[in-house]
């Protein structure tokens, strides 16, 4: 292979046998360097406040245990902007450089784990999927509305999970192929039909945006209904299963509660046409019942 060897950026590590004495000296040197570094950071923060290429964030703070944070407040952070910076990047920067107690959920940084749905400048968005440059300043970051705040930007997700799990969110069929190496057949069209509904990442943005879900705690909510749609429309489950699924959806607090506000569809980071799915289920339910009249 003709790969070229990279030029090492040389520093004091050139000599191999490092005496402990030298180590100590190095450590001292580094310590000094560190202090200088710290100094620089403070200055940088100061400069950041005044510079153009910083973003001004106003972040909701609350902690039931910390006296100063028991009464919720907004903290200001000035974060130096880098090309491609997202809300999540900015929050992480603020946490690592200004206040290590700034708390928010996050993991994948790529819009797939669904941890970081936040209320940013008045709408539900995924922190990691929202470019700072698309927002006007000051960027207001709050926890999801209509959910109990645990701390700072972290909300209690239990209710959302309960709703998700209330719709028998698992595949059920009575007719599996016999062979353990034989798959069930499914047409491309049918897969296409359920495709969007399978993309949900359980971020709860939709649920948080829905006024009905805010008012009626028992309402299944758009995400759970979508989850049920994913199975009800999957031809592999068969007709009698579909019947059963529709029965679940038809409860008083099922699909009928939806008032087609569309906000769920608008905020869904995975572009799932939630309202459309809910409406289709309402029609399916009606059709299904007309058969029995």
């Amino acid at each position: 292979m003709s790969t070229q060897v990279p030029e090492q950026v040389e520093d004091e590590s050139a000599s191999e046998t490092v005496s402990t004495g030298k180590q100590k000296r190095d450590a001292k040197k580094r310590e000094r360097a560190e202090r200088v570094q710290e100094q620089r950071e403070v200055e940088a923060a100061e400069k950041a406040r005044t510079a153009d290429d910083t973003y001004h964030l106003k972040v909701f703070r609350y902690d039931p245990e910390v006296p100063e944070k028991q009464e919720p407040r907004f903290d200001d952070f000035y974060v130096p902007y880098k090309q491609g910076m997202t809300i999540l990047d900015a929050l992480m920067w603020a946490r690592d450089h200004y206040d290590s107690s700034l708390t928010f959920r996050h993991s994948c940084r790529q819009a797939i784990c669904g941890s970081d749905a936040l209320f940013v400048n008045g709408s539900q968005r995924l922190g990691c999927k929202t470019q700072l440059s698309d927002l006007s300043e000051p960027v207001r970051v709050e926890p999801l509305p209509h959910a109990d705040v645990v701390k700072d930007l972290v909300v209690d997700m239990e209710h959302f999970y309960d709703q998700m799990e209330a719709v028998e969110p698992y595949f059920q069929t009575n007719s599996l192929p016999d062979g353990e190496l034989e798959e069930q057949r499914q047409t491309r069209e049918n897969r296409e039909k359920v495709k969007m509904s399978t993309r949900c990442i359980w971020c709860s943005a939709c649920m948080s945006s829905c006024n009905i879900a805010a008012g009626d705690n028992e309402y299944l909510g758009p995400a759970a209904i979508n989850k049920a749609y994913r199975f009800a429309m999957d031809e592999r489950e068969g007709e009698d299963m579909k019947q059963r699924r529709l029965e679940i959806l038809e409860q008083e607090h099922g699909v009928w509660r939806c008032q087609t506000q569309f906000s769920c569809t608008e905020v869904c980071p995975k572009d799932i046409p939630l309202t459309e799915h809910i409406q289709e289920l309402k029609r399916e339910a009606i059709k299904n019942n007309l058969k029995f009249w």
Partner: protein
Amino acid sequence: MSQSYNRGLIEDFSRWREFSAGMWAWIFHKFTGWVLVGYLFTHIAVLSTALSGATEYTTTIQGLESLLIVRILEVGLLAVAVFHILNGLRLLFVDLGVGLEAQDKSFYASLILTGVIVVASVPTFLAGVTI
């Protein structure tokens, strides 16, 4: 759960600023619907003066109709009704799964159309009012 901060009503009431088209449509539809039922009840109440006799009825109605304020309220009622009808149609289409992508546009269209119809009917509605 118990220790978490409850944002309660403050949260709900300040959220309208962040509403999007579909949510406004919902609010307006709700509001207009309620006004309409309210009106339905008053309307029947007023009409039932007919039970006490023909003259009674005619004087009540004409008395009311001659008041500017009533006429203006009627224009308001018209606006409310027209919006409720138009948005109601929009909702019926949404229920049929038609035009979901244009839901925001159809809402704006309902608003504009309501405005136009109401403005156009003002002369008829205010005709013959004695000030």
